[in-house]
Structures are given as C-alpha cells and as structure tokens.
Amino acid sequence: MKKVNRRNSISRILGTALALMLAFSTVAFAQDEAAIKAGEALFKANCAACHKLDAMSTGPMLRKIESRLDEEQGLDREWLYKWIKNSNALIKSGDRYAVEVYEKYNKRQMTAFPTLSNEDIDNILAYTAQDKAPSVTTVDSGGEVAPAESGFSTDIVLTALIVLFGLLALGLFLVNKTLRKFAIANGTVNLEEEAKKTSIWKAFVQNQFLVIVATIFFMLGAAYFAYGYLMQIGVDQGYQPIQPIHYSHRIHAGDNKIECKYCHSSARVSKHSGIPSLNVCMNCHKNIAQVAEEVQQEGITKYGVDYNKEIRKLYEAVGWDPTQQDYVNEQKPVKWIRIHNLPDFVYFNHSQHVSVAGVDCQTCHGEIENMEIVEQHSSLTMGWCINCHRETDVNFRGNAYYEKIHEQLKDKYGVESFKAAEMGALECGKCHY
C-alpha cells in the first residue's frame, strides 16, 4: 500500500524544487534533479512502507545510506544492488554485514525487489543522498503569499468603500450645518418654540395606551428569548471538548482522505459508530511515528499542537516501543471525552442510517474533514431528527427487503418515492424504547 504520510505533496515538491533552484542554479544539475524526482517516486511506491529517511521504522532510516555504508562498513553500491534485489540470497551467501543486519532486525526479511533495475536503484539512492530538506519556513512563506494577494484586493475595495462613505457622511453633515446656520440667520426656525415641546419620553410615559402596548411587546420579546434560552439547555451544539490525545480529523479524513468507516467500522453493523480501538490506529501509525516537517510546523504555529508528541501519546497508551518496534509496555486505555451524547431514552442506530439509508456521515456530523478538533455540528434535538425524517426519501434501491413493500406502496399510492416519515419514521416507539 502506498503510504500517504506526507500531506501537501505537491506543495512540498514545489518547495523542494524552489529550494533546489535557489541552491543550485546551474543547468548541470538538471539531470540529477530528474533522477531525484524519479527516485522519490520509486521510494514512495516501494520503500516508504517500511523505511523513512530520517527515522527508524520497520527498517532502518535511509538518508545518505550509501555514503554511510561506505564510511562505516566499506560497502559499495554493488552490495546495495544485491541487497535490494534479493536480500535473502545475500544473507544465505553468508555475507557478513547482511547477516548482521538480518540478526539486528529480529530476523525480519526485507521484501525482495527483483523488478528494480540498477538505474532505478541509482535514482532512489540519489533521492536518499540529498541533505535534509531545508527549513520549511521558506515554503510556508511562499505558500502564504498567494492567499494574501487575494485578500489584499478585497481589503482595498473595502477600505476604499469605507473611506468613500465616511467622506459622504462628512459632506452631508457639513451641508446640514451650513444650511441650519442660514436658516437661523434667516429666522425661518423658531428656537423657543422647539424648547416648549414636551420631550418624547415624557409624552410616552403619559400615554397609557402606548405604555401598555410597549409592555406587552417587551414581555412577549422577553418570553421569546427566555424560551429560546431554555430550549437550548441540554443542546450542546458546538461542543468541542479538549481530548486527551489531540487527534486531527482534518489531517486524517481531510488531507489523507481516509474513509470514515475505516476507523469507525462498527457504524456499518452496529448502533454505535464506535471510537476506534487503538489497534486500528496502529495499523498505520506503526509506520508513521512522525508527521512531515511542514505539517509539524503548521501544527505548532497554527494550532499550537505538537503532532509528534500526540503520536507518542498514542504509543504510550497502546504500549508500543518505537525503538524495539514491538508492544512491550503496559496498555493504558484512553479516556476520550464523548462529544455526541444522546439521552438514554433515545435509541439511535448508526447502521440503519449509514448502511441501509446510505446517509453520509457529514450530514449529521458536519465537515469533519475540515475539523482540527471535532465539535458537535448538529443540535441533535428531536426536532432536528424529525425534520430529516420528513425530508428524506427512503432508499429502496436494490434492497430485497423493501421489494414487496415498495411494490405494495406504489400500487396503493401511485407514487414512486416515499419519505421516511411516511414509512413510520415518526412513530414514537421507533426511537424510544
């Protein structure tokens, strides 16, 4: 499986390219650049499942592997060809270092890659031979330029408009002032008369009818707001608690496009969508001990989260030792804070909605893929449930269960589609028992 442990790969490539352009501006390196590019593609397709450039994974880290081997073990590229194409044969041949590596990694064999040509391997080595990517800050600034430009234009328009309206208002005020001066000078306005008029407040208080009407309106308004306030008690829309492990749905579901039901698998068959057990996390995180550097930076600057630390929390909980690559420590269950709480007297079944009706998770949970921290998107009130049942057509298609019922309904009412509400989805006992 291809590993998707680096998000924004395009921007990253662009960034690397930019950095390289800055560093080596001569044309002579263009060929190498192509090799590195090809090497990167090969690396990601074949090696990344078990190897990382700068960290231990299932296999050793590979940055500058060639030069390191040369320096430490005196092994050349030929040895590497042999090893990569068929490490097993090399081990069996009794090669000293091959056996040593084999022993060191608990006799785990590296997959043989007989399909890789020497040239391919050269390319991969070229890719691994690069220096550690230069600081991503340049990339970030580069990235920020584009949105800033578009923001700039609207800002200018807005500022210009504000200035314009301000000038207009000033102009009007000045005109008014001047005209008034003229009027007083001409004697068209009698100031004393104006002073004799009772103030509007006094008039209001004296008018009993108005007072009563106003009081009624005031009380109605107050009642309206009080009702609104009371009705939102127990409605936790927007509830966004801080979880013991900062888990970013934005990265997992958004950037990496992991299917919701990969982790929340029980949503297909159970009433609970299920908080994934930690072994599900470890399916991927066995190999992903760290996020890409720019993701890490983004986390720190934008969200104030050290993602790598959060992954370490996962390892801690599941008892995984990254250096030994094994579950050796004590397990410590994670106490997540539940966000979506239905009262006990409501029966809700995820599989009914997810598997049978085919409702997208986002319909109720909102744009989870954009949420750094998940919040309760919907109100989860009964009115909200009922509304959806009233508006949604029942999904009869291809479901043998509905065949007979659908035929009978069609015959009876002469229409093709039926709302959930018409099929009994408003009955009390369907959700309350």
Binding site: P241, V269, S277, S351, G424, G429, K430, Y433
Partner: protein, 1052 residues
C-alpha cells in the same frame, strides 16, 4: 375543670436547688443570644447599603443563577478497547452455547453477551435433551452478578491467596492420606465424564478417597429402582409427546420431578392435532396431594394422600398386569378413577405411560414394570438421564462416619449440607472436628461458615465443564465472561492437588478428544454446546463405588434388602396403612428449586404459578383441614392477603412456625411446604424469606408425618392475584371439551360476542360496531402474538425472560403486596368454583333474580370461592397491543401511541404519570413506577449496585420514577430483526421475529410473527377456529390472540 397536675420537663426539676432549672425558668436561653451585636447598633444598620429587600434579591438572583448554571451537561467519558477482540463489535450481541449444571438445574442454553457481559439466557434449539431453560435457568444470569459472592479464597474467614490455600490444603491432604483416615469428596451431581475421570486420578494420588454425590432434593429411590432393574445408575427418560394417555401418581413432571424439562414434549401432545373433526390430544390423569403444575394441567385430577397414592399405584399395576393385588380399599370415586385410568392405559397400549414421584423404591420399581408391560413408546431406558446421581445411603454413611471419627478430611463442591440436611447442625459440628474441611462455594453460606477453608468458586458462566445429561448426549459448559472475582473451579483445584499442572480446560479437551468426540471436531462441539454420540464412552462412573460401599454397610446392619420381585413390591405398597396424622409433602417451587439461587431478586419476586404469592414459602392446607384447625386467609383493606400461622412438628422435632395459605385442590389430610427458603447465610437481608423446610426433610423423605396446630399472629403475603375464580366469565378463558370441539361448529364452543346496534345484535368485531376509522395494516409488518392455552403449562419461564430482556425492576415484598409489582407479563391462574369451569358457566346462566336459591347475590358470592378440587386454567396476559387502544385516547400528552406494525408504543420520556391509561386499560397490564427503582437504597436489589446493573439490556431504557411502563412486544427485538434484514438486503423468514417470551417458551404456547406474511405460523393460527381475543366485546381489536383451551374429558 382545672387540674393541678404538674408536668415535668426533666428529672432535674426534682432538684429544687438545681441552678439549671432556675436559669431555665428565667431565661429560655441559658446564654444570652447576641442579638444586639448585629441589630443593636441602629446607626450602622441604617447606614448599611444592604437592606433586607436587597438581601432577598441577592438570594433570589443567586438561586436562579445557580439553577441555570447547573443546566450544563456533564462530561461523559468513552473508553474504547486498546486492542479490540475480533469477535466483539460494540453494540452487537454475541451468542455462546453453554450448559448449566448446578446440581439441580441442567440445561443446554445460549448466552447472549453484549460487550463481553452475559445478559440473557436463550434456548438452544440444537440440543435434543434439555435444550430449554426454565425460570430459574433464565434467572441464573443475574446470579452471576451477585454482590454476595465469595470474592477470594478464605481461611478461617479471612481473605487469602490461592498459593497459601493450595499449600495448606495440600499439606493437610498428605497428612490425612498418611494417617489412613478417609478423605471424602462430597459433591453435587456433576454428571461430568471429565470430572469423573479427574476424581479417579485424585483417588489414585491420595489413598482412601471416597467420592459421595449428594443431591439436596433426593431422587435416590428412583435411581435405586432403576439401578436394580437395569444395572445402571440413572433415571428413565420419558417423551410425553409420544404418549396418548399419561397417568401420573404424585409426579410433578411439569415441575422439577426427576430433573424436570418434560414440559415441551408434554405440550406437543396437548395441542389438538390431526384431521379436522377427529383431532387428537393426550389424556392426562393425575393423582397427587399438593396442587402442582402437572395437576393444574391435568384433564382429571384426583387429590390423594401419599399413603393412598401408594395403594392407588399398586392397584393400577394390578389392573394393567392382571396380577390381582388385594389392598386397602380406597374411596369409591378413587377406585373408579383408577379403574378408568387403567382401562385407558390398556387401550392405549404402547401409547400410554405411567410416572410416579413417590419417594419409595417399591413404587418406582412398579412404575418401571408397568411401563415395560405397556411397552410404552414414551419410555426410554436404553439412554437414561444422568442428572441425578446422589445416594441417600452414601450420604447417611458419611455423616455416621464423621461422627465415628473415621473421616479425616472433607472437600465439598456445589453442596450446602449444613443448610440442606435435616440434621445440618450435627453436620456442622462434625465439620469442625475434621482435620480438613474445604468447601467450594459461590456464597458464604451456612456450610462455608462452618468450614475452615472456603474456596471461592466461579459461576457456571465463568467455568469450563462437560455434562452427560442423558446417556450419549453430551453438553459443554464454556465460560462467557472472564471470572469476575479471584475464583477457581473445583476441577482446577483437584488437578492442582493431584499434582497436575494442566488447566481444567486442557484436561477437558484432552478427555473429549480421547474418549468422547471420536474424531469429531472439538470446536464444532463447543460451538453447538451439545454433542451426540452412539459410541459408548469408556469412562467409569467412579462415584458408584461409594454407593455400593454404603449399600453393603446397610445390608449388614439391617435386613431391608431391596425386594426384586415386583409382585411382592406391589403387595407391600397396596397394604400401605393410611397415615395416622397429617402428611407433610415437601416440594420445590418453580421459582426457587432447591434454594441455590435464593439471593436472586428475580426469583424471589417471581409469583408462584399456583398460589401467585411471591417472596415466601408457606404451608398449603386444604379448605377442610384449615377449617378444622382454625386456619384462615383473608384480605385486608389495602388489598394484601393475610394468613394465620401454624406450628408444624415432625417426629417431635422443634416446631416450625409457618404461614398458611389455603390451597384449593390440596388433598385433605396433607399439607405442603416448599424447600429452598429460609436461608440466612450469604444472602441479602431482603432476600431472607420464608422458613427452612429442609429442617423437616428427615431421611431424605419428602413425605413426613406432621402435626399442625394454629398459633397466633398474622402473616402478610405478597400475593399478586386476589381473585381466585373467573366467577362464570367464561369468555376470558374459553374452554371446551375434545368431544364438543370435534363434533360441534366452532361458533358453538368459541362464540363471537355480540353487541347491540339499533336494537339488533351484531358481531362485536363487525365494522358496524366500530366507532373508529379503519386503518389499513396490510403493508409492511403486522405483529401478532398467539398464546395457546392448551400448550401453556404455566411454567413462568417467559416471566423471567421478559424481566431480563426489558430491564423490569424488582420492587420488593411490601410493594408487591400493594399491587405495585412491575411484571410486564403475568400468568393469571384461575380456579373453577364448581368442579369444572363449565359448571361455573352453567351456574351463572341459571341465576335468576337477586335473592333465593338461584339468586345472583348469593350465587356470585359463592362463585368467588374455588372448589375443593377445582379445574385450573393458566392465562399469560401482557399488553394486548390493541389496534383500538383505550389507553391511547386518554393520554393527555400523547405518550402512548400506536405504531403501524401493530405495537402500542410507550414513550417514557413523554409520560407525565397521570395513570389515566392504566385506569382505562381493560386488561390491567400497565405498570407504574411509583419509585425510582435503580440506584436507590430503598430498593436494594440488583439495580442498586454496579455489579447487578451489568445484567441490564443496553438496548432498553431503564425507566425512572413517575413513568408508566408496559410490554412493548419487544420492539427492540423486532426492530433489530428488521434492521438486520434491511442491511443484508433480504426478506424476513417466518420465525425470525421473536419476543423474549415467545423465544423462551419451549412448549410452543407462544408464537410470535408477522400477520402480513401469509406463510407464517402466526397468520395460520389467526385463522384457526380456536382463536379468540381477550374481552372481544370491548372492541379493542388486540394483537394478542388466545386459543381456546380444550380438555380431554373422556373418562373411559
């Protein structure tokens, strides 16, 4: 008139010089209250910015603010698995096949688990024998979560570790073994081939080990008789579905007779089947003393004392075999009944069967002989039942050996002899003298309290095991949850003490692979829970050695050799003298059995099917005897049933004071008392009910000569049914005879009620009689529950199954007494007032005028009283899910409403508790939560502790105070079935829809299904001629059908 009385406030006042008195006379407060400090200074008071009004404002505001601020929801934590087991999906139930074998109840069952917690018992349909659970087995899942369980091994009452325990017991065992004294293993009936083998190995390790099997309620006589005749220790098996004539002499085979579990076969034969107009059903004649379930279901019931039963059995034998036996003469109608029964048996030949529950080897041998003569098809001796193994003689020998000091150590498992032995106190004394006494127990019971080493034993749902319920029919017990406490099962301990390092699971599996499976798959056997083989298993039954030993001893001492001559036995029986005084017949209640699960609140609250009393045992006395002895029952103002007390004395033993219930049908000259009550150790205070009848269970004989005398005092019963008769309302329980049923048009024996419209009588079900708009229910599902009154034996398994499925609370004795019981499903029991129900109907029809001989005033009063030997009818009643429900129209908040699938919904969160619905319900099936029954110390039952709440079904809400509740027709189950089908994209097959009660009903009396599925059984039953609805004339159009009870009254 003025009085010079002086009132003293305290003794101090007597002392004139007391300074306190003086001070108090002057001042109310001895020390001055410093009022001035805060009120005296007028200036500061006035200058204070906080006035009294302001103060009140602040108080008001802060109270309101605090209230509103408190509206914030609590933080809820969710803790998922770290490594989720592959087979567990949160929210989806798993089922495991296992077997209960607690020494009294044996059954192959399925256990429903949710997230690893067992929550419900279901029948195992794949099991051929004992595949259905009775009420106690259904309730056994709650006993797992019993807070009174022993949580750790104990030495001298102090918690210890298993290492210490092993070390000490091992050392003692070696010492005793070296000293040459006996080591006794006193165990329940395990009927387990692996345990048998294991005990054999234990015997090999320690010399002089004696394994004695002890059944608290003995079937020793039947076992001895069978062994004498067939050379194998077991019980003959019966298949009542093959019998056309069943004669039972004192055997409650629908109850717990010989291990029970015969009701499904019996019920099959009771449903009229065959060609229309010539339908057949079995004929059941019962001779008995107590009113039992079997007697209540019989076509003819003859109340007899046990002494008379013996004579009757001998005469029956004589009639059938043709051997003339001259015996004591019984009353004419009894003689006639015996003759008729014998005639019918002879006519039925191989389709007839006779059973007896008389605890006498002669009687048991006679029955074996009769069935052999008949060549009864229902009678199986080739594969006997193994679920009782105990021998009275062997147990008696243990006690005498203990006294004699021949025993060095005893290891007990699954037994509580200090409680269940009549001479339990002697046993307790003996225990203390032994070098080693170990008991494997789940409770700190009477025996554990007198034992030094208490080994915490696991519940069967936490253990491995195997059972040979019937020869060749094996069953496996597998754990469905990890042990909740630091427990170890008896077999594991034996392995350890035999020096074997294997776990019992490995041992079990090895035994099965080697001796039982014969190449079949172990995993498949565990999956099915049962395994049937014809191959003879070469596992010697090592426990027989002890019995042979004891028997050899007995023959040495006395001259009572078992006479192996049936004719002689018959003669002996026929001349049984009539009992001189009263006969006490000890029995076991459907809800309590031998009393192992006395700490189970479901079972305590379970109303006895016959007396309908819960939370008690009592002396059942016939009306005649009650009048003679001055014993009474009466109802008090709050509706509760009260009764007088009686002292019973057996053989000059200490008298026991027991409450009395007058039991219609009780044979005059006998009284009944249930075993299993009166426990005081290892049991919650609330559950310490009744009296211990084992104290008079002398010589393991369930019949004792007793003297009964009334004593003062009033006992308050918790009886849920106060009306004993139908008072001629034959349309509630419709019944007819087989003859009428076969010959007459169905509207004659199942008449449609009529109502008057425009002074014309029309059918109550006619649309013209309907004031409601018609609703088309032909699309989708339309659920119906059919209840066959012929097949229902009243066993009550459905009641407990409903409790478990629907989180029905337990309310306790005082609340039940106030008619606040919460059972969603009740089984009404009616007695006839005349000799038969049809006699009742006739009497009502013939009433004329208010007074006089046939006057209704006196007539109805008479009809309130049941007959001396009444007919009995059972009728399960739950919410009828009326299509035109009276409850729905009166609810002011629309909390109860009708679903299009036929279910009457109850939205608890909407209910405000007006109870209008309950008042308007003609069936009285709605239950009101008068109190909060969970997490409330006033109701200290299972819902009050974390452990007990583990049994709750997470799919059903736990109701709160002030809310009405009732049967939902298990909507959570029907909805689940529908959802599964939708998800799998398929139609639903008949039989998939089940309610808790219909799934629990092994007799086929309850059938649930979709009426719109024309192929379904319930749709077929709906068109049956026997179908009627309860109170049809009310026009409620219920979705629960009843089927007319047919009795086979053919006398000869």
């Amino acid at each position: 008139m003025a009085s010079n009385k002086k009132y003293w406030k305290s003794v101090e006042e007597l002392n004139e010089n007391s300074s306190i008195v003086e001070a108090l006379r002057q001042n109310e407060f001895v020390e001055e209250v410093p009022v001035d400090e805060f009120l005296g200074d007028k200036e500061t008071l006035e200058s204070s910015s906080t006035s009294r009004r302001d103060f009140l404002k602040y108080v008001g505001f802060s109270t309101a603010a605090a209230t509103l601020a408190a509206c914030e929801g609590p933080v809820v934590k969710s803790i998922p698995y770290v490594i989720q087991p592959e087979t567990i999906i949160p929210g989806v139930a798993d089922f495991y096949a296992t077997t209960i074998a607690d020494g009294y109840d044996f059954a192959s069952i399925l256990i429903k688990t949710r997230e690893g917690r067992p929550i419900k018992v279901e029948n195992n349909k794949e099991a051929v024998v004992k595949g259905s659970a009775n009420a106690r087995v259904h309730a056994s899942v709650l006993s797992l979560y019993d807070n009174m369980r022993v949580k750790k091994p104990k030495i001298d009452g102090k918690d210890t570790t298993w290492e210490t325990f092993d070390a000490e017991v091992g050392q003692k065992l070696n010492q005793i073994s070296a000293s040459g004294k006996q080591i006794v293993l006193l165990t329940q009936t395990f009927a387990s081939p692996s345990t048998s083998k294991l005990v054999g190995e234990f015997k090999a390790k320690y010399s002089n080990v004696n394994h004695v099997v002890y059944d608290a309620v003995s079937e020793s006589a039947a076992l001895d008789a069978f062994e004498a005749k067939y050379g194998e220790r077991g019980l003959a098996d019966y298949d009542f579905s093959k019998a056309e004539v069943i004669v039972s002499v004192g055997a409650d085979f629908l109850g717990d007779w010989q291990g029970g579990g015969y009701d499904d076969g019996y019920a099959k034969g009771r449903i009229p089947h065959g060609k229309k107009g010539d339908k057949k059903m079995s004929r059941h004649v019962q001779f008995e003393s107590n009113m039992t379930l079997s007697g209540a279901n019989a076509d003819k019931r003859v109340p007899l004392t046990v002494a008379d039963q013996k004579v009757a059995l001998a005469k029956l034998y004589a009639e059938i075999t043709g051997n003339s036996v001259s015996g004591r003469k019984l009353s004419a109608n009894v003689e006639q009944a015996i003759k008729n029964a014998a005639g019918q048996l002879k006519q039925a030949k191989s389709k007839g069967v006779v059973v007896t529950g008389i605890n006498d080897v002669d009687a048991q041998s006679l029955v074996l002989a009769i069935n052999q003569t008949l060549a009864s098809e229902a009678f199986d001796t080739t594969a006997p039942r193994k679920l009782r193994q105990g021998s009275d003689k062997a147990v008696a020998k243990v006690i005498s050996d203990m006294k004699a000091g021949a025993i060095g150590g005893i290891i007990m498992a699954g037994v509580n002899p200090v409680y269940t032995l009549a001479n339990g106190n002697e046993f307790a004394e003996g225990l203390k003298k032994l070098d080693l006494a170990v008991t494997f127990t789940q409770k700190e019971d009477e025996t554990a309290q007198n034992t030094k080493y208490v080994a915490a034993a696991p519940h069967y749902l936490e253990s491995w095991g195997d059972v040979e319920i019937k020869k060749g029919h094996y069953a496996i017990t597998q754990p469905t949850i990890r042990p909740l406490f630091d427990t170890r099962q008896f077999q594991d301990a034996l392995l350890k003490w035999s020096g074997n390092d294997k776990a019992y699971y490995e041992y079990l599996r090895a035994t099965w692979t080697a001796d039982i499976l014969g190449g079949a798959s172990w995993n498949q056997a565990v999956h099915d829970g049962v395994f049937k083989t014809t191959a003879t298993v070469s596992l010697a039954d090592e426990a027989t050695a002890a019995i042979e030993d004891a028997e050899a001893d007995a023959t040495d001492e006395t001259e009572t050799v078992v006479v192996n001559n049936v004719a002689a036995q018959a003669r002996k029986l026929a001349n049984t003298a009539a009992a001189s005084g009263m006969e006490l017949v000890l029995y076991t209640k459907t809800g309590m059995g031998d009393g192992q699960q006395a700490n189970n609140p479901w079972l305590q609250e379970f109303p006895d099917p016959i007396t309908r009393a819960s939370w008690d045992n009592y002396l059942t006395v016939s009306q005649v005897d009650a009048e003679a002895k001055g014993l009474k029952n009466w109802n008090v103002a709050n509706g509760g049933l009260n009764g007088s007390y009686a002292n019973i004395t057996v053989n000059g033993s200490e008298p026991i004071k027991v409450p009395v219930i007058i039991q219609p049908g009780q044979a005059p000259g006998t009284v009944g008392l249930a075993l299993g009550y009166g426990k005081t150790a290892g049991i919650k205070k609330e559950m310490q009910t009744g009296v211990n009848a084992y104290k008079v269970y002398q010589n393991f004989n369930n019949v004792q000569n007793v003297s009964v005398e009334a004593v003062g005092g009033e006992h308050e019963f918790a009886c849920v049914q106060l009306h004993n008769t139908l008072m001629g309302r034959g349309d509630i329980v419709k019944e007819t005879t087989l003859e009428v049923f076969n010959t007459k048009h169905y509207r004659e024996w199942n008449p449609m009620p009529h109502v008057s419209r425009d002074h014309e009588m029309i059918d109550a079900t006619s649309p013209k009689a309907d004031m409601w708009a018609k609703f088309d229910r032909s699309i989708g599902h339309h659920f119906n529950l059919a209840i066959d009154l012929n097949a229902c034996t009243g066993c009550g398994a459905c009641v407990i199954a409903c409790h478990a499925e629907n989180n029905v609370p337990v309310v306790g004795k005082t609340e039940v007494r106030r008619s606040r019981d919460m059972h969603w499903l009740r089984i009404d029991r009616y007695y006839s007032s005349e000799d038969t129900f049809s006699g009742d109907n006739e009497k009502k029809e013939n009433m004329s005028g208010l007074f006089g001989e046939n006057g209704s005033l006196g007539g109805f009063l008479e009809m309130e009283n049941p007959a001396a030997n009444p007919q009995v009818a059972f009728q399960p009643v739950m919410c009828q899910h009326c299509n035109h429900a009276p409850c729905e129209t009166v609810c002011p908040v629309a909390a109860t409403s009708h679903g299009r699938q036929g279910q009457n919904h109850m939205a608890y969160n909407r209910c405000v508790g007006t109870r209008y619905c309950a008042n308007n319900c003609p069936y009285k099936v709605r239950r009101f939560n008068w109190f909060l029954y969970n997490k409330n110390d006033e109701f200290d039952y299972h819902m009050n502790d974390d452990l007990g709440r583990m049994v709750l079904n997470p799919d059903v809400v736990v109701r709160s105070r002030g809310v009405m509740e009732k049967c939902s027709m298990c909507i959570q189950k029907t909805q689940k079935t529908i959802l599964d089908a939708k998800r799998e994209g398929r139609q639903i097959k008949d039989g998939e829809f089940q309610t808790a009660c219909s799934a629990a009903c092994s007799s086929g009396a309850m059938v649930f299904g979709d009426l719109n599925d024309k192929e379904s059984k319930v749709a077929e039953l709906h068109e049956d001629e026997r179908m009627y609805h309860l109170l049809e004339h009310v026009g409620t159009k219920p979705n629960v059908q009843y089927h007319v009870k047919v009795r086979n009254t053919k006398e000869a």
